[in-house]
């Protein structure tokens, strides 16, 4: 990206003349605010479009196809891969104001606009005893359109599923501007090709969602939270993988390695467990478990959890009191920000590995720390193998940057060799584009690119994303504070 993106002043002027200044913003502040996501790599668009309605959005796409202007769709900008950054310039379409939410309690369906905030959907569903299970950590800030674009996951995916499991139907526009509806808000639909699930997770490159119908499920009646301390990362992970054979399905099952616990305890100023509880161990590896559901089932599962971990965990605390549960969650909630004690920059890689590779994975993380001298605190979702390995480094230190880059590439290679995935919930965007060819064969990528060309013949929607490797290490992130920054 050393060459500046071509500009389209005439097309932008034409769009402005057609839709007016309330829908087409060209001021510097609007363009800057729409230029990056949570990765903060900024790529300036020429205009930010807030379409009043679907015909306005169609007009945008038609003109973009005529004049070959790149169009990038933006939700709330909470993404972790730069997928909503307009890397080739052009126009950003902003849909945060399309945020309607209607709940149909009989069919347990939510009809939502793409700009609806995910937590707001849950707030609307709760009075009907329903909820939308996917819970990315940005749930209070992110839009459902972005969740659909990335097929977002979260903590509860192993029990409840990911976003794709809850999308019944999508209404939207093809890159060429035609209106389409994929599937219907029904439980069964097998007419024609399933382009609904092709759109889900396509990171805004195959179409624009203007309306979605989501399946909701009954809120659990009861919850019980456990925090368990282990002498070693290996002991925690072996016990975690083993629990899955007992057919307990925890709603939350988080692993935190000793590097993560150490820095979180340091920041919080108090330990998760007293050393006395841990047979003198100052810093345990942790498992945080939340069971939910019917009280009778929960009681049986809780007994299984206690029996399984007896003799494996050094310490166990449990509660069904919400305030006490929040205390058990404390390390998990604070660990992500605490990691900045280990470096001013963080790579957060959301890889996935099978159960058999849990222990090899954590050894890999520690080996990277030893080889490169950079901290690699790791936590993740132990019921679905989706671990977040972090590499902490000093952004202003060229040697650190080089080491972090090398470490991540090594890790991705090893994860794929383990039968794993380079991304479980963030997507590819630009940040993971250098690793796509580790995961997929040339034939697989060619098939994906052929599908992209088939649906977007002029290549106007989010061009350059996913398939064209971009080295983000060459770029400096914007220094901005975002609503979800908490440090």
């Amino acid at each position: 990206m050393s060459v500046p993106a071509p500009r389209h002043p005439e097309a932008t002027a034409e769009l402005l003349a057609r839709l007016g200044p309330a829908q087409v913003l060209t001021d510097d502040a609007s363009c800057f605010a729409a230029s990056f996501d949570n990765t903060r790599y900024s790529f300036l668009p020429e205009a930010v479009i807030r379409p009043a309605d679907v015909p306005a959005l169609q007009a945008v796409l038609r003109l973009a196809n005529e004049r070959l202007v790149p169009v990038t769709v933006r939700g709330r900008g909470t993404g972790n891969t730069g997928a909503s950054a307009p890397i080739r310039g052009g126009w950003v379409v902003h849909l945060e104001h399309w945020d309607g939410i209607e709940i149909d309690p009989q069919s347990s369906v939510a009809k939502v606009g793409p700009g609806a905030i995910t937590q707001a959907i849950n707030d609307a569903a709760a009075p009907h005893g329903l909820f939308f299970p996917p819970d990315p950590s940005s749930v209070r800030f992110c839009s459902i359109g972005g969740n659909i674009a990335t097929n977002a996951g979260g903590l509860r995916a192993a029990k409840y599923g990911v976003v794709r499991d809850f999308v019944l139907a999508l209404e939207g526009l093809l890159p060429t501007g035609e209106s389409v509806t994929w599937s219907r808000p029904l439980r069964k639909f097998v007419s024609g090709y399933n382009l609904r699930d092709l759109w889900v997770g396509s990171e805004g490159t195959l179409g624009i969602v203007t309306q979605a119908w989501l399946r909701l499920v009954p809120l659990p009646q009861a919850r019980r939270t456990f925090l368990l301390g282990f002498a070693t990362d290996e002991a925690a992970l072996e016990a975690a993988a083993g629990l899955m054979t007992s057919r307990v399905a925890p709603a939350v099952f988080e692993f935190l390695d000793r590097q993560t616990v150490e820095v979180a305890q340091r920041r919080n100023g108090r330990p998760a467990f007293d050393p006395a509880e841990l047979a003198g161990e100052a810093c345990p590896a942790l498992l945080l478990i939340e069971l939910d559901g019917h009280p009778a089932v929960l009681a049986e599962d809780a007994a299984k959890v206690r029996a399984w971990f007896a003799g494996k965990a050094l310490a166990l605390r449990e509660t069904d009191d919400p305030a006490e549960a929040e205390a058990l969650w404390n390390i998990r909630r604070t660990c992500s920000q605490a990691m900045y004690l280990l470096g001013n920059a963080k790579l957060n890689e959301d890889i996935v590995v099978p159960f058999r590779s849990y222990v090899p994975l954590i050894r890999l993380a520690r080996r990277m720390r030893e080889t490169h001298g950079l901290a690699t605190p790791t936590f993740g979702h132990a019921a679905d193998g989706n671990f977040h390995i972090h590499v902490m480094y000093d952004r202003d230190n060229a040697e650190h940057r080089r080491k972090a880059e090398t470490a991540i590439l090594e890790m991705m290679r090893e994860v794929v060799a383990m039968g794993g995935a380079i991304t479980g919930e963030h997507g590819i965007g630009i940040s993971k584009s250098p690793f796509l060819r580790l995961q997929h064969s040339a034939a697989e990528i060619a098939a994906m690119v052929a599908v992209k060309r088939a649906l977007d013949p002029n290549g106007i929607l989010a061009p350059g994303q996913i398939f064209e490797p971009m080295n983000v290490w060459e770029r400096t992130p914007a220094k901005v504070t975002l609503p979800w920054d908490r440090h």
Copy 2:
């Protein structure tokens, strides 16, 4: 199809020379047996190929692309739309011998070949306390490859989901012969486009599955079966749709209309309920409910079912004894064959409608009977709106055939107008190809066809299926007895 399909004797001879007569069958009996599915519309292939391994199958596809020979993949031939019939001739690839099944109890995953029989997967999973929930009525005969190709459903879909919800990863060949793997046997995977779910339900037109990884779930601990009789179809359906708001999730929730019950009682020679139980009503509409799960949850749900239907149903029987439950299932199990008392030919349309359209739908079925004078017995899955409307007629009566054809077209139009689906679990194939344009806009179909061309540039895989309307009424089904015929 009045023009015979072009033949490819040289290509077939070349394939025979390359793979040998054990893999390439050209005798009349083999070709006839591979020429039709459960619809019995026969289209003769030039050869039936039973590839020994993946490289042999790749050789078939490469030669087919070079010589432009149509290739149609066949599982066990239980399909209901003609999707596995080689309507343009060419070669049929038969994969029933690729039937390996491996269960990984720790990750609750089955690794299966496409020819594995669905019930055999359940038989292999049961000793581990696991099962594969989708249960098309052909479960003892159909192959998992066919289930994947059609995204099969069944009775338990509203509670457990359809085939797509259980496919973790697919290994297979693109139409051009390249090996690909879509996703991995992991719970989260968001790298690149989701071609896995595009393949699922694409009716053999976008690729050939050579291996699949399926998610299994724990077998329910307990079951309870209810049979309820109602004075009218409307009373049964209103009560059924209403139950869904009480958040009971029946594993099975079957509706049988009075036409269906009448003919099944006539064939069985005994009624579902004594007339005394039904306040003198001889022929009720029925609901058959099966709850399953943890005994404590099941007991609560059973109480909700009893309370909900008190005052709505004329009669209720329930049991947790398997033999007694089988007696309650009797009408449901026999009704499909009993319908042949009403005509020697049956159309079985697996439409889907939202809850609000249950009563309008059954009135539509009865109106069709009155207008056209053909019986329209209807049963279906009341928890997901997937109803099977049947039109019974005399195949040898041209007037009947014309009326049945008209009635089905009218019904499809009305179902789409209700916000419904023309097919919930069978797919399009050739039988429903005349209705595709009722369900989908021109832009939607153009997008689907563009995807087909992108992945199958030479159009060799199952050409003519889904997108090219074929009037099957012009054809006479083959008179054959298939393993699953029971009359």
